[in-house]
């Protein structure tokens, strides 16, 4: 396999009649999926969509999403997946950055974005079915039209493996979206590593509710298609019952998720998760640290499942992997060892390598690492230096090469010259009974002496009263005094990304208003 459309090309030849994808509305075999994607790819080329041009996808998790993605790739274009609920403002930022020629969306997306679409240079809007909405300057074309006169093979013109396949915009936890450029080679190198570690086969079936607009979710779709497996997808866990039932009905062997999602399922639907997921062979968890007690709880519920976590930024895909089930409790807080071809070095502030057990910035090089951000020289230069991605994450390697992440470089709170890692404080507070969620930030100290003061925002579990004084005492017991928050506040919700990452800047802005 040299380029991503080869995944479908080969699976279509090997497993034409096997189920490839399904969602609540439709199911497709590999034969159908290849034919549909190839047909649309030819049509796009015929419409003047040329190599290297960008096409945005604003669709919920669905067969339609995957069809759109591979059609764009098959035409030699660059796919730009966006969150289905993207706001017009964020959409405009992304579109102004990547200047797409067309957009794949649906009626709901069009309704939300139509006033923005006329401010862009998008020529074509591809919809699954006709819509009454009028995007003014763009032309609407339906899938029905694109799928007329099926063609079984992707366009023959070769695609350069070093060319960009996707721009994955990371809103991350701060700032303007940056388009991470991922080449066909980048993605395929990552997929080979993941495939080897998990041991995917044509017998695997996964339920993917993680957003396909992120590498985590999309990666699981790629992996299954690459090995002839099947994927059921829907957007999120808003309907936990339907998702759990799909685990049972599909005979799912994999169910990737976030600590937040698994926490919600275990706390509210534990017996159903155990029953519907009893055949699960592996569970990959990412986006935030999985607390050790949650690992134990999950393993008890699903004793046959191999629980894995990995470390990976969009810029570098999965860089380390670990099976917590196989490595045991000693490594429950590790994110594993580097994947094949990946080199991880821990650097100090002067760029020198640090020995094992010394905390510094995690840097990564290897075939999965992006070449930088789309048309953003400044951010590329800042984060990609001397052939290495500087992640901004703090961590250390142990003597056996296992990586442990301890926090974010730029999140460090400066308390009178002492650097405090907010993740460490959150970890202590999270252990307190009745605390459902916590976020710790640094705010300018109005007392004027300490530079920043530490503020902890807490969400109580439903029906629980949290005694803030007891939490403060717990912090004093487990943390140095300068790390103990000056203020503890109860809030209704901690702002997080849809994959569960804490939006620390947004939280800080919210909390600052209260002082």
């Amino acid at each position: 396999m040299r380029v991503l459309p080869d995944i479908l090309r080969e699976a279509g030849l090997k497993h034409p009649d096997r189920l490839a994808l399904s969602d609540p509305k439709e199911s497709v075999s590999y034969r159908s999926l290849v034919t549909e994607c190839a047909t649309i790819a030819h049509r796009l080329s015929g419409m003047g969509f040329t190599r290297g041009e960008r096409a945005v996808i604003v669709l919920p998790n669905s067969v339609q999403f995957v069809r759109a993605h591979f059609s764009i790739l098959g035409a030699g274009g660059i796919s730009v997946p966006c969150d289905a609920s993207i706001t017009p403002q964020s959409f405009l930022q992304i579109v102004r950055s990547c200047e797409p020629r067309l957009i794949f969306t649906d009626g709901a997306g069009l309704l939300r974005l139509q006033s923005t679409l006329c401010k862009t240079g998008i020529t074509w809007v591809v919809l699954p079915e006709p819509s009454a909405a009028d995007p003014l300057l763009s032309q609407i074309i339906t899938l029905e039209v694109l799928l007329q006169d099926p063609i079984e093979r992707f366009p023959d013109a070769p695609i350069d493996p070093k060319s960009i396949a996707s721009l994955m915009y990371t809103t991350g936890t701060t700032g303007q979206p940056k388009g991470v450029q991922l080449t066909h080679e980048n993605v395929l190198a990552a997929l080979r590593n993941i495939g080897n570690f998990i041991g995917y086969s044509a017998d695997d079936r996964e339920v993917v509710v993680l957003p396909l607009s992120h590498n985590f979710g999309l990666g699981h779709v790629y992996c299954n298609l690459m090995h002839g497996g099947a994927v059921y997808t829907e957007g999120g866990l808003a309907r936990p019952g339907r998702v759990l039932k799909s685990l049972a009905s599909l005979g799912a062997t994999g169910f990737p998720g976030t600590p937040l999602g698994y926490g919600m399922l275990m706390d509210n639907f534990g017996p159903a998760l155990a029953e519907c997921g009893r055949q699960l062979r592996f569970i990959v968890i990412n986006s935030a640290p999985l607390p050790p007690e949650r690992t134990v709880q999950l393993q008890r519920l699903l004793p046959r499942a191999d629980i894995m976590v990995y470390y990976g930024l969009t810029e570098a895909s999965r860089s380390t992997f670990i099976s917590l089930s196989r490595c045991g409790q000693k490594y429950f807080q590790s994110v594993g060892r580097p994947m094949n071809g990946i080199n991880i070095q821990i650097k100090n502030e002067h760029g020198a390598n640090l020995p094992p057990k010394h905390v510094g910035e995690v840097t990564i090089s290897g075939p999965t690492v992006s070449r930088g951000y789309w048309r953003n020289h400044q951010e590329t230069q800042k984060n990609f230096r001397n052939g290495r991605l500087h992640t901004g994450d703090l961590g250390y390697l142990d003597e056996d090469g296992f990586l442990f992440i301890t926090g974010r470089l730029k999140d460090a709170i400066n308390v009178g010259g002492y650097k405090v890692n907010p993740s460490e404080v959150e970890e202590v507070i999270r252990r307190f009974a009745g605390v459902a969620d916590v976020g710790v930030v640094g705010l300018d100290s109005f007392e004027g002496l300490t530079g920043e003061m530490i503020v902890a925002a807490l969400v109580a579990e439903s029906g629980c009263l949290v005694d803030l004084q007891s939490i403060e005492r717990q912090c004093l017991k487990h943390l140095e005094k300068f790390k103990v928050p000056s203020r503890f506040l109860m809030v209704e919700q901690i702002p997080r990304t849809d994959t569960g990452k804490l939006k620390r800047r947004e939280l800080a802005e919210q909390l600052a208003k209260q002082f």
Binding site: A238, P240, A272, S462
Partner: protein, 87 residues
């Protein structure tokens, strides 16, 4: 107050949506406010307000306002009701 009327108030208050967005066929995932956490929260508030405890088999079948009404009709005043003053 009927189950439907009480439920309407609970759904709007819990999901923090205007009554104009409420429909009998409103379902999880239809609006951003009814996401996974909103769903779990809604079930808990409904249980507390109607003084019932859904069995897990019933809880996983609930996806919409219509489902909630159907399940509540089964529970309220029935075997699953914690108190005769449920409604």
């Amino acid at each position: 107050m009927s189950i439907e009327a009480k439920l309407k108030r609970i759904v709007c208050e819990t999901l923090k949506i205007d009554e104009s967005r409420y429909r009998d066929d409103l379902a999880a995932g239809d609006i951003p406010e009814w996401d996974s956490l909103g769903h779990v929260n809604l079930l808990m508030v409904v249980e507390k307000s109607f003084n019932v405890a859904f069995e897990i088999g019933d809880a996983i079948d609930i996806e919409s306002v219509e489902d909630l009404i159907a399940v509540l009709e089964k529970y309220v005043g029935g075997l699953h009701c914690k108190s005769s003053e449920a409604v």
